[in-house]
Amino acid sequence: MELRNSIDGGRGLYDTFAQSMDFITGIFKTSLGRKYLMAITGAGLFGFVVMHMLGNLLVFAGPAAINEYAAKLQALGPLLWVARIGLLGMVGLHIWSALKLTSENREARTVEYEAAAEPVDAHRRDDIVAKFAARTMIFSGLIIAAFAFYHLAHYTWKVPQINGASADFESFYVAEDFVTPLEGGVEGKDHADIFKMIVTGFKVPAVSVFYVVAVGLLCVHLSHGLSAMFQSLGFKNKNLAPWMDRFAMGASALIFIGYISIPVSVLAGFIIIK
């Protein structure tokens, strides 16, 4: 009490501060708190995955549509950086809590069972043994993170050495009509030719294969993560669970189809540079 009064003259600020600190400790230093972090950042990243896919699908509407969309995103300026830093923060927290939780899980069970699960009621085996997607979250997650880094280097930082297309995406610009190619465009001043980048990028089979595999893993990850998210946040129960599981499976499948439709269409010659 004496300490409290000496700090804030008994105005209650000390209590408020102490309570906020307890709240933060309760989130970052406990099992359930870290599960909240996983779920909330996971939900945010899922939102990004959906928006990114919807934006990408504009490629089917032709070069003008997607190039204009990209130009509008670029024009957001400082807001774009807020979104980028927010995303990076969510990725960081998601990975940090995943590594922390996984290492605790490994320490909690250091000896595995000799026998594979064979319950006397054989049909109950599927309920007792954890599903593939649930067992492999850390692996699917880390591979997706590695892919995301490659994907940024490929299309955002436009590192020419890794695109496998013997072209420099840095030189792809369009004029004000978003269609006519522009020679000698300047970054930040002229509009990037996203359409040409997508088509040139995915024309390389190895790049497309890596993309499809990564998106496949993302969907395996989401098929478990999206339903577990509701449980971690305390929303799940036996009445809602079947719907939440269907949502997880359905959303994962739609995301898979939505994303892979682009490299598949490029390789099949359905999307071409006119």
């Binding site: 307890d22 708190g33 909690a108 000896v111 069972y113 954890a130």
Partner: protein
């Protein structure tokens, strides 16, 4: 029926342990799993060997003592059944049965199939109770409790603390147990005064004991002899969040 048993033998907590094989002959299909082990132990004692140590008490499925993983499955995998209530008729003649103790860092093996489950007791001591005057018996119905909530509280209260949830979980997580204990008392009026403190303290002790974290695989619910629902883990997650906001710390 005749069976081949492959049993985990460990002399004490410090021993590395090993599997040993035994023949179980002339077993009646009507015996319980523990009675079958009793017969095998009689034979071992008769031939001057150490019997297989295992926990048991009530042998009617309500005490939660019998802890063993039978063919890779806690309690053997019959729906809502403890090992003592599992009968030999569910096994086929001549088959090999592997018997192992619960495997979890927080449940160290004492000997053979006996593990130390005092971690659960320490979690309970942190808040799995209500502080009330325990004088004379109160009048029935003096405190109104709604039917729905009392049913749900009773579902949670069914937990016998056997530890099968921890044994079955790939992460050795105790969340189903802790969720049942937190939910049970948070649902009835008697549990309200200590509601936030209980959730915070029990979760903290669970973490300190070195149990893993829930990854929502559902294995715990599937092996639970009292069929405690995964819904209680969601309820615990809500209770903990509520307690963090209202109270913050123990």
């Amino acid at each position: 029926m005749d069976l081949k048993l492959k049993v985990w033998r460990q002399d004490n907590a410090g021993d590395v342990g090993r599997f040993e094989e035994y023949q179980a002959r002339d077993i009646s299909p009507d015996m319980s799993f523990l009675e079958m082990l009793d017969v095998v132990n009689e034979g071992l004692i008769g031939s001057g060997k150490e019997p297989i140590a295992f926990d048991s008490d009530c042998r009617e499925g309500i005490c939660g003592s019998c802890s063993m993983v039978i063919n890779g499955t806690a309690h053997g995998g019959q729906k809502g059944t403890t090992a003592c209530q599992l009968h030999m008729r569910h096994f086929s003649d001549g088959m090999t049965i592997t018997i192992e103790p619960w495997r979890a860092t927080a449940f160290p093996v004492h000997r053979d199939l006996v593990v130390d489950r005092t971690a659960f007791d320490r979690i309970q001591q942190k808040g799995g109770f209500i502080s009330v005057r325990t004088g004379s018996v109160p009048d029935a119905n003096a405190i109104p409790v709604s039917k729905d909530e009392s049913d749900l509280a009773m579902d949670a209260a069914q937990c016998i603390g056997c530890g099968a949830c921890v044994a079955a979980c790939k992460n050795a997580s105790a969340m189903l147990f802790v969720a049942a204990k937190i939910s049970h008392l948070s649902l009835v009026p008697q549990g309200q005064p200590e509601r936030e403190r209980r959730a915070l303290a029990m979760v903290k002790q669970m973490d300190d004991e070195g149990f893993g974290n829930c990854t929502v695989t559902g294995s715990c619910e599937a092996v639970c002899p009292k069929e405690i629902s995964l819904d209680f883990i969601a309820r615990m997650n809500r209770e903990y969040g509520r307690a963090l906001i209202k109270k913050g710390t123990v």
